[in-house]
Symmetry: C2
Subunit: 147 residues, 2 copies
C-alpha cells in the first residue's frame, strides 16, 4: 500500500505543472512528516525577494505531500478549502517549510473520512529562511475525501 | 507621469517570472480598475481543476496592477502583508477577477503614504468562471510605501 519514495517525490514536485515550474523540492517525505524547499531563483518579485505566489505554493503543497506519505491514496484524495498567509519579512533566499501530522491524527482522519465521506485538517506552518527566520506564516484548511 | 498601456500590461504579465509562467492576462488596466484572467491550461491540479496557487496569483496581482494604473510608480511601491483565500468550488475553466479603488481612496492613500511613509489598503475580491460562478473569494492586505 505504501508508495515508493521516488514516486512520492515525483508526484510532489512534478504532478502539478504549476508546482513543477516553481522548482519546489521535496527534501523529506515520511509518514506524518514532510519538508519542502522553494528556490529563490526563478521566483523573484518586483523587488528581488520571493514572490508571494511561490510562498503560497510552498505553504500549500505540504497538505498534498502529507496526504501522499500518510494516507491510502487509493481510497482518499485531498482538497484545500481555505488558506491564510501572513507575510512577515522579505524572503531573500531559498525558503523551507516542515509539516507534521501525528499517527493519532492520521488514524482519526481516515476513520472519519471513511464513515462520513470527508474529514477536515488544519496545517499551521512557518516558512523560514536558511537563518531560521520566519518570512511568512500560513494556516491551511484541507479536507480528506473518500473516493 | 502616467504609463503607456502596453508598458503596464507588460509589467503586469511579465515582470514577475512566476506570474509570466502562469499565463495570466491583463484584460483591463485603467486608473482605479483592473480585470485579469488566469487560463486553466497549464494550471491544472491533481484533479483537473485550477491549482490553488494559480488562483492565489490571480487574487494577488490586482494589488500590483492597481498600483501601476493608479499611483505614481516613481514615488511609491506596493507590498503584500496578508492574503486569505477561500476556495468555494472547483475552477473548471479560465477564471477572471476585477478589482477597483475609488479616486478618493487613491488620493487618500497617496497622501497618507507621503506623510507617514506607508498606507494600507484591502482588496476583497471574487474569482469567477465564465458563468459568473464564484470559485474563490480573497481578502488581500497591501501596503503602499513611499520610496
Amino acid at each position: 500500500m505504501s508508495m515508493p519514495l521516488e514516486v512520492m517525490r515525483q508526484l510532489t514536485e512534478e504532478q502539478i505543472a504549476f508546482v513543477k515550474r516553481s522548482g519546489l523540492k521535496a527534501e523529506a517525505l515520511e509518514p506524518g512528516f514532510v519538508q519542502l524547499r522553494m528556490p529563490l531563483t526563478g521566483n523573484q518579485n518586483h523587488i528581488g525577494s520571493m514572490y508571494a505566489g511561490a510562498l503560497f505554493t510552498l505553504a500549500e503543497i505540504p497538505g498534498g505531500a502529507l496526504f501522499l506519505t500518510s494516507f491510502d491514496v487509493q481510497r482518499f484524495y485531498p482538497i484545500i478549502k481555505e488558506m491564510n498567509l501572513r507575510f512577515r519579512r522579505p524572503a531573500k533566499g531559498d525558503i523551507s517549510v516542515t509539516a507534521r501530522l501525528s499517527e493519532e491524527q492520521i488514524e482519526q482522519l481516515q476513520q472519519q473520512a471513511l464513515s462520513t465521506g470527508k474529514a477536515e485538517f488544519v496545517l499551521e506552518l512557518q516558512l523560514t529562511d536558511d537563518s531560521a527566520e520566519v518570512v511568512a506564516e500560513s494556516r491551511g484548511v484541507y479536507q480528506l475525501r473518500a473516493r
